[in-house]
């Protein structure tokens, strides 16, 4: 790991940052996030994260005290649409020229009353949700809105999809995800690194390991620490098992949408076996408590050969069912051409994870910015499909299950040869900023972490793939009807908890 540790925050103007961003994007780098922090009264900082081979670079622009507005990035870079809404929600900055500053991660009032501003230092005011109706965006004869959520039909996370439709077609879709905003980012502030680790595992519960890894990487970057090889392998093992469980969950939801009860049951069974395996290895069905800054807590509680046998058995069983699924034409008819994401849009947006890879855009940080065991192991083949529909996303996931098993087996295989006496390094992370990343099942997870001189967290902004990708969801309903909705949603496979935090 040869990453420069502490990076200083620049003092560039917003325009300079935008220009630098433009040049970097023109050179094929990827816009990864736009974050804001501070209080408009005392000065705010805008941070654009740019991902490229080998690193994620933050570009900072400081706004002077009292500045409440800045020129919006969205008109030049549509991918910033939600980021600037989130900045508006959390910090209270108004991006001038932003097309629509509806509440996104935080319910707030549009009547001019002050925003809660949890992005600012200090305790924000309690959220007082405004349930005032949003205006419609679609106009015409007989057009109406179907609300899906926040309490949805089935066991789902709370999110409100507003389908504006003339009946049958999904002509326009809006997302109101803010109902389950938990104030995670604020919660990080003042925590110790150890506690922050636990919170990071609960930012996006279904990708606990990936979030823990991204957080740990940020801390390790600050400390300049190198983790033991055995720990790196154990991290890979858990990250890949988590990937398999998530992709099985998506397959189960897809087959459930198609009413293939046996297939749903089979994939549910496999997923349960994976979770039990994770539980048997670590004590937690979600691999929580495995990753700590500097390494891992313990060795897997099962011997390596037993893990390998179990992995072989599971992979064999899963492969059989996947093959049967790919032979079920009634199912394939439902996912084919459903929810198409234009490759061009995927590229300009920088779509992450299986969603980007289903539309021909691949940026897998296990390969482009390898971390932990991925540096030692052979880089995994990154499956890419070009069709961009739900089927392509599903095919990418199926291929990723295959590589995940392969990687997990490799990682376990290396374990007996490693020095397993030392599983974590003791380290002292100094004050400063760092970016950590990991490839979650949903795509790249980023953590922008700032530690103060006491080793406590001053600022921690997680950026999940769910946030970055769900922005694209409304663009994928070209020609789709209401019954296609569950397929498209399942094929995105995102987590609302990771979105609004």
């Amino acid at each position: 790991m040869s990453r420069p540790a502490v990076r200083s925050l620049g003092q560039d103007s917003v325009a300079a940052v935008y220009e630098a961003l433009r040049v970097r994007l023109a050179n094929g780098q990827r816009f990864a996030a736009l974050l804001g922090r501070g209080d408009p009264a005392t000065g705010t900082v805008l941070i654009a994260l740019v991902a490229h081979d080998g690193d994620v670079t933050p570009l900072n622009a400081t706004l002077p005290a009292g500045a409440t507005r800045y020129p919006a990035l969205t008109p030049q870079l549509p991918a910033a649409f939600w980021y600037e809404r989130a900045i508006h929600d959390l910090v209270g900055l108004v991006p001038d020229g932003h097309p629509r500053l509806d509440p996104l991660v935080l319910p707030h009032r549009n009547d001019g009353s002050p925003l809660p501003r949890p992005g600012a230092p200090g305790q924000p005011a309690r959220i007082d949700p405004d349930e005032g109706a949003l205006s419609v965006h679609l106009h015409g004869t007989g057009v109406f809105t179907i609300p899906h959520g926040p309490v949805r039909s089935g066991v789902f996370e709370s999110v409100e999809y507003l389908v504006e439709t003339p009946g049958e077609d999904i002509t326009h879709l809006r997302i109101r995800p803010h109902a389950k905003h938990r104030g995670v980012q604020k919660r990080f502030e003042g925590m110790t690194v150890e506690d922050g680790m636990l919170l990071a595992e609960r930012v996006e519960g279904i990708a606990s390991v990936a979030h823990a890894l991204a957080f740990a990487h940020a801390v390790e970057t600050l400390a300049g620490a190198e983790i033991p090889v055995a720990a790196a392998m154990i991290r890979v093992l858990h990250a890949e098992l988590e990937r398999i469980a998530n992709h099985l969950d998506v397959l189960g939801k897809l087959t459930e949408a198609a009413g293939l009860a046996v297939a749903t049951a089979r994939f549910g069974l496999h997923k349960e076996h994976i979770l039990r395996l994770v539980g048997a290895l670590s004590g937690s069905r979600f691999g929580r408590g495995v990753v700590v800054p500097g390494g891992v807590t313990a060795l897997p509680r099962l011997p390596a050969h037993q893990v390998t046998t179990e992995l072989d058995r599971l992979q064999h069983a899963i492969n059989g069912d996947v093959r049967a699924l790919l032979d079920t034409s009634s199912f394939l008819d439902r996912v084919r051409t459903t929810g198409p994401l234009e490759p061009e849009l995927a590229r300009t947006h920088g779509a992450l994870g299986p969603i980007g890879r289903g539309s021909g855009y691949a940026d897998d940080c296990r390969v482009t910015r390898p971390y932990d065991g991925y540096q030692q192991l052979a880089p995994p083949p990154v499956p890419v499909r070009g069709a961009g529909d739900a089927q392509a996303r599903m095919q990418v996931r199926i291929a990723e299950i295959e590589t995940a098993f392969h990687l997990a087996r490799q990682a376990v295989g290396r374990l007996p040869d490693c020095d397993t006496d030392r599983l974590s390094v003791v380290m002292q992370a100094g004050a400063g900023h760092a970016v950590g990343w990991a490839e979650a099942p949903q795509g790249e997870v980023l953590y922008l972490l700032e530690l103060d001189c006491h080793g406590q967290i001053g600022y921690c902004a997680p950026r999940s793939a769910s946030f970055h990708n769900l922005m694209l969801f409304p663009s994928t309903f070209v020609g789709d009807v209401l019954t296609d909705f569950p397929f498209n949603e399942a094929s995105f496979g995102l987590s609302i908890a990771g979105l609004v935090m």
């Binding site: 549009n110 007989g142 949805r152 039909s153």
Partner: protein, 691 residues
């Protein structure tokens, strides 16, 4: 009895005169002509009943009017009389049983303040009814055609009455144009027959021997009547004409007057007996297609009047299919098939006359109270307008063919009649019958969708805003009219076997009553004439279904230990959402959208989304960038395929032909003398050549 007929005609004439003299100036007598018309209609039902019973009412115009303009001697059209035989009697009863309540509704409608600004409406009403009487009772081609043209004029006046409506002129012109086409076809058909028969009375026409000429006349007559019935491709006047007509007068056109078209078809079959086989096949297929096209449009239209009008086309198609079955039976000499086809069709005529009158009457009530017939604006108004709302519901359920209504009985009969296709060995008949059966079955399905939309969203839908209602419901007289029609829709089904006996007697001239009597399996059970095929007792249903409903209710009360009454009312479940601005439940448009997509090939549905916003979600060029901005525009329309691809392309060549013909008519005496000379020379040449 014959004097009764004369009195009714004179009464209608007098009522018309009252309107012309005092119609606009004084409010009091405004409803009088309609009440007189209602009374006359009652008398006409009595006359019709006498006719069905075989009393043979005959009002000879030769003796009544001496040797007047219509007399026999002077013009050589033979003896002329208004004669009510069984078939005429049947159609008198059907038409005027509907005309009584419709006239009442009209009377209630015109007595409201500010209603009538121009004279002639009541006169036109009387003219319509009078023409219908004469058409149904004429025993002579000449008189028939005269009344037919009068009816065309009456329709023209009705369609053109509301001068403030934007599309009135078009509607009136297309109505009268197709009326003239119909008249021309009838004239040609009758003349072809009369030339051979040597006389103009119907009895003489029947004596023409079977030949290609007679077949052509059969086709021309059926084609002429098909215009009135709304058979594709001659239906285009119907939705526009009906929609343009004022208030409940639509019911007069669609519920009462339309029956003359069916009468004409029945009469043609009675006179000419054996149709050409190809005509039967064409009528079957066209009927099936008409039904589907009509219901497809009825399902997706956004205007209540147009929905009801398109359902008229659908019913015209269904009835024509039944008629087609009868034609197949006649062409293959199978009297039972004629009987089942005609019985099915006549039952459908009855159902349609009642339900359509009811629907249009109720529509006028809603339109009156809300000022619109747009479905989107009418949502939930049924709660506040109980009489019109209930009327609309009963009418819609009848035309959707649901049990307990006469529509269910007629549709059952129609499908059963089509299922008899296996009895015909010849593929050339069996195949069209099967195809028509499939089309009718699809139509029945979509009819349910179309009318569930009406009932579900307008009558039962969530209570609409109070401000949508501008005035009160139809009033006692109107309510009485609606109630009569509603009771008719259900009552006829309840006593369907009795009613079937009436139909059998009335259809005696066409198909012998000994054959048709096979439709009664037993006292209260119906069957499709052929025995051992299937059976139905609508009367039993009327008893059993309410009993079952009560039984279920009673059981839920008993087993629930009274807890069904302990109700805690909460808002409807809407995913616990905080709500959205604008429409947040199914609109009539949205409800029909799946149909619009499923039948996209038939309706040529096009929908466009105007992108008013950039990819990111902002409205282009909108300085006020807030959540309140408009972002996307959605439009959707359907195409009337027949009009677009058949009639529109004919428009220009037709105009060119007319222009060419006009050149012949240049008004110069020498040119006319020249034509005569050429004609004379041509005749001489032919004679010389033949010699």
């Amino acid at each position: 009895m014959m004097w009764l007929l004369a009195i009714t005609l004179l009464a209608l004439l007098g009522a018309g005169l009252i309107d012309l003299v005092a119609g606009v100036r004084y409010a009091m007598p405004r409803s009088v002509p309609y009440l007189v018309a209602a009374a006359a209609s009652v008398l006409l039902v009595v006359v019709g009943a006498a006719g069905i019973s075989g009393a043979g009412v005959r009002l000879s115009l030769d003796s009544t009017l001496g040797s007047g303009a219509l007399g026999s001697g002077a013009l050589g059209f033979g003896t002329t009389a208004l004669a009510v035989d069984r078939l005429s009697g049947l159609f008198l009863v059907i038409s005027f049983a509907a005309a009584v309540p419709v006239s009442l509704v009209c009377a209630a409608w015109v007595s409201r303040p500010g209603r009538v600004r121009y004279r002639t409406l009541a006169a036109t009403h009387c003219l319509t009814l009078g023409s219908v009487v004469v058409i149904i009772t004429a025993d002579n081609t000449f008189l028939f055609l005269l009344a037919w043209e009068l009816l065309t004029i009456a329709f023209y006046l009705l369609a053109g009455f509301q001068r403030t409506k934007a599309d009135r002129a078009d509607a009136a012109i297309i109505t009268v144009t197709l009326g003239k086409v119909s008249g021309a076809a009838l004239l040609l058909g009758f003349l072809l027959l009369a030339a051979r028969a040597g006389g103009f009375s119907f009895a003489q026409l029947a004596s023409v021997p079977r030949s290609g000429l007679r077949d052509a006349a059969f086709a021309l007559l059926v084609g002429g009547f098909a215009v009135k019935v709304g058979l594709v491709p001659l239906h285009v006047w119907m939705p526009r004409g009906y929609r343009a007509a004022p208030g409940p007068l639509r019911a007069v056109m669609a519920g009462v007057a339309v029956n003359v078209g069916f009468y004409g078809m029945w009469r043609t079959l009675e006179l000419l007996r054996v149709p050409p086989g190809w005509l039967a096949v064409i009528i079957l297929l066209l009927g099936g297609f008409t039904a589907l096209l009509g219901i497809a449009h009825a399902t997706v239209q956004t205007d209540l009047a147009e929905v009801v009008a398109y359902s008229s086309i659908e019913n015209g198609g269904l009835i024509s299919v039944g008629y087609g079955v009868a034609l197949v039976g006649a062409a293959t000499d199978r009297p039972p098939l004629v009987a089942v086809g005609l019985l099915a069709a006549t039952l459908q005529v009855v159902a349609h006359a009642l339900a359509k009158s009811l629907l249009f009457s109720a529509t006028s009530g809603l339109e009156d109270a809300t000022g619109t017939t747009e479905l989107e604006s009418l949502r939930g108004v049924g709660h506040r307008l109980p009489a019109s709302g209930t009327g609309l519901a009963v009418g819609a359920l009848t035309l959707a063919g649901l049990p307990l209504t006469v529509g269910f009985v007629s549709e059952w009969f129609l499908l059963e009649s089509l299922m008899q296709q296996f009895r015909i060995g010849r593929l050339s008949y069996a195949l069209p019958l099967a195809l028509a059966g499939a089309l009718v079955a699809i139509t029945a399905g979509f009819a349910a969708v179309a009318f569930v939309r009406i009932v579900g969203l307008i009558v039962l839908g969530p209570r609409g805003p109070a401000e949508a209602i501008r005035s009160r419901d139809v009033g006692p007289l109107g309510t009485a009219g609606l109630a009569l029609l509603g009771v008719g829709c259900v009552g006829v089904a309840a006593v369907a076997p009795l009613w079937l006996r009436v139909l059998i007697a009335g259809l005696d001239p066409v198909v012998g009553r000994d054959v048709a009597a096979g439709a009664l399996k037993s006292e209260w059970v119906l069957q499709p004439v052929y025995s051992e095929f299937s059976a139905l007792s609508p009367s039993w249903l009327v008893i059993v279904m309410p009993v079952l409903l009560l039984g279920v209710l009673g059981m839920s009360v008993a087993f629930g230990r009274g807890r069904v009454f302990a109700v805690r009312r909460v808002p409807a479940w809407r995913s616990a959402t905080g709500g959205v601005a604008g429409e947040n439940q199914y609109t009539p448009f949205g409800f029909a959208n799946p149909t619009r997509k499923v039948l996209a090939n038939l309706l040529l549905t096009r929908s466009t989304i105007t992108v008013l916003e950039r990819e990111t979600g902002g409205r282009t060029g909108d300085p006020h960038r807030s959540a309140a901005g408009a972002h996307l525009g959605y439009t959707n329309d359907v195409v009337e395929v027949v009009e677009r691809f058949l009639l529109r392309p004919l428009h220009r060549p037709l105009l060119l032909a007319v222009r060419g013909a006009k050149r012949l008519q240049n008004g110069r005496l020498d040119a006319y003398l020249g034509y005569m000379l050429i004609a004379l020379l041509a005749v001489l040449a032919v004679v010389a050549g033949l010699a």
